[in-house]
C-alpha cells in the first residue's frame, strides 16, 4: 500500500461517491456540488499522475467556469426539486440493464486489454507542461484554431439564444 495507492483510493472513492450523490440528490444545486466534488477529485488524480497542468486547467475551467455557469443558471431559473414523472416507460424499464451492460463491456474491455495497461507507471513530471504546450501549438495547431472558432460560435449562439426578443 504505497502512499500513491492510498491517495488514489481516497480520491477514487470521493469521485465515485460524488457521482452517486449526483444521481441521488434531487435538487440540481446539490447535484452540481457533488459534480464539483467529482471534478476536484479528478484534478487530484491528475496531480497524482503528474500531469499538473491538466489538473489546474480542470479546476479552473470546469470548476471555475463551467460549473459556476451551471450554478448560476440554476440560481437564475430558481430551479426547484425535480419532479418524479415516469412518462418514459422505456427509460424506466431498460435504463438500469443498459447502463450495467455498458459498464460490463467497458470493464471487460479493460480486463482483456494488454499488459501495458496492467503495469503501473511512475508519474512523470518531465517538463510536462512545456511538452504539452509545444505539442498543442505545433502538431495540433489547426485543431487548436478550430476550437477557438468553435468557442466564438458558441459565444454568439449563447447570446442569440439567451437574449429576450425585443417586443
Amino acid at each position: 500500500m504505497t502512499p500513491q495507492l492510498a491517495v488514489f483510493f481516497v480520491l477514487a472513492t470521493l469521485a465515485v461517491l460524488g457521482a452517486l450523490n449526483l444521481i441521488m440528490q434531487r435538487h440540481p444545486i446539490h447535484s452540481a456540488l457533488s459534480l464539483i466534488v467529482v471534478m476536484i477529485a479528478l484534478a487530484g488524480l491528475y496531480l497524482l499522475m503528474g500531469s499538473e497542468f491538466v489538473a489546474a486547467v480542470q479546476i479552473i475551467v470546469y470548476g471555475g467556469a463551467i460549473m459556476v455557469l451551471f450554478v448560476f443558471v440554476i440560481m437564475l431559473l430558481n430551479a426547484g426539486v425535480e419532479e418524479r414523472t415516469n412518462i418514459s416507460k422505456l427509460a424506466g424499464i431498460a435504463g438500469i440493464p443498459l447502463a450495467v451492460a455498458l459498464l460490463g463491456f467497458l470493464a471487460a474491455a479493460i480486463a482483456r486489454s494488454n499488459e501495458s495497461a496492467q503495469a503501473g507507471f511512475e508519474s512523470s513530471t518531465l517538463a510536462n507542461t512545456k511538452e504539452i504546450s509545444t505539442m498543442l501549438f505545433k502538431d495540433f495547431v489547426y485543431p487548436f484554431e478550430l476550437t477557438s472558432f468553435l468557442i466564438l460560435v458558441a459565444i454568439l449562439g449563447a447570446i442569440v439564444l439567451a437574449q429576450r426578443e425585443k417586443s
Binding site: 440540481p28 470546469y62 451551471f70 437564475l76 430551479a79 414523472t85 450495467v100 504539452i132 458558441a154
Partner: protein, 100 residues
Amino acid sequence: MVPTSYYLILSAVLFGLGVVAFVFKRNVITIFMSIELMLNAVNLAFVAFSQARHQSDGQVFVLFVIVVAAAEAAVGLGIIILMARNRQSLNVERVDLLKL
C-alpha cells in the same frame, strides 16, 4: 505505483454512473451535468493512457475536450434558459414536442 487499469476502471465506473444519471434524471440541467460527468470520465482515461505511454497528446486531447465542453455548456445552458422561459418547466418529460 498505481496500475493504469485502476484509472481505467475508475473512468469506466464514472462513465457508467454518468449514463445512469443521463437516463434517470428528469431535470434537464442535471442531465446536462451527467454529460459533463461522462466527459470527465473520458478525460481521466485519456490522461491515464498518456501518462502510461509517456506521450503528451492524450493530455492535449483532454484540453480540447475541456474547451469543447465549455462551448457546449455555453450553448446548452442558453437553450435551457430558453426552454425554461418558454415552457415554465425544466422537466424533460414535459418537453415532448419532438414527435409527429
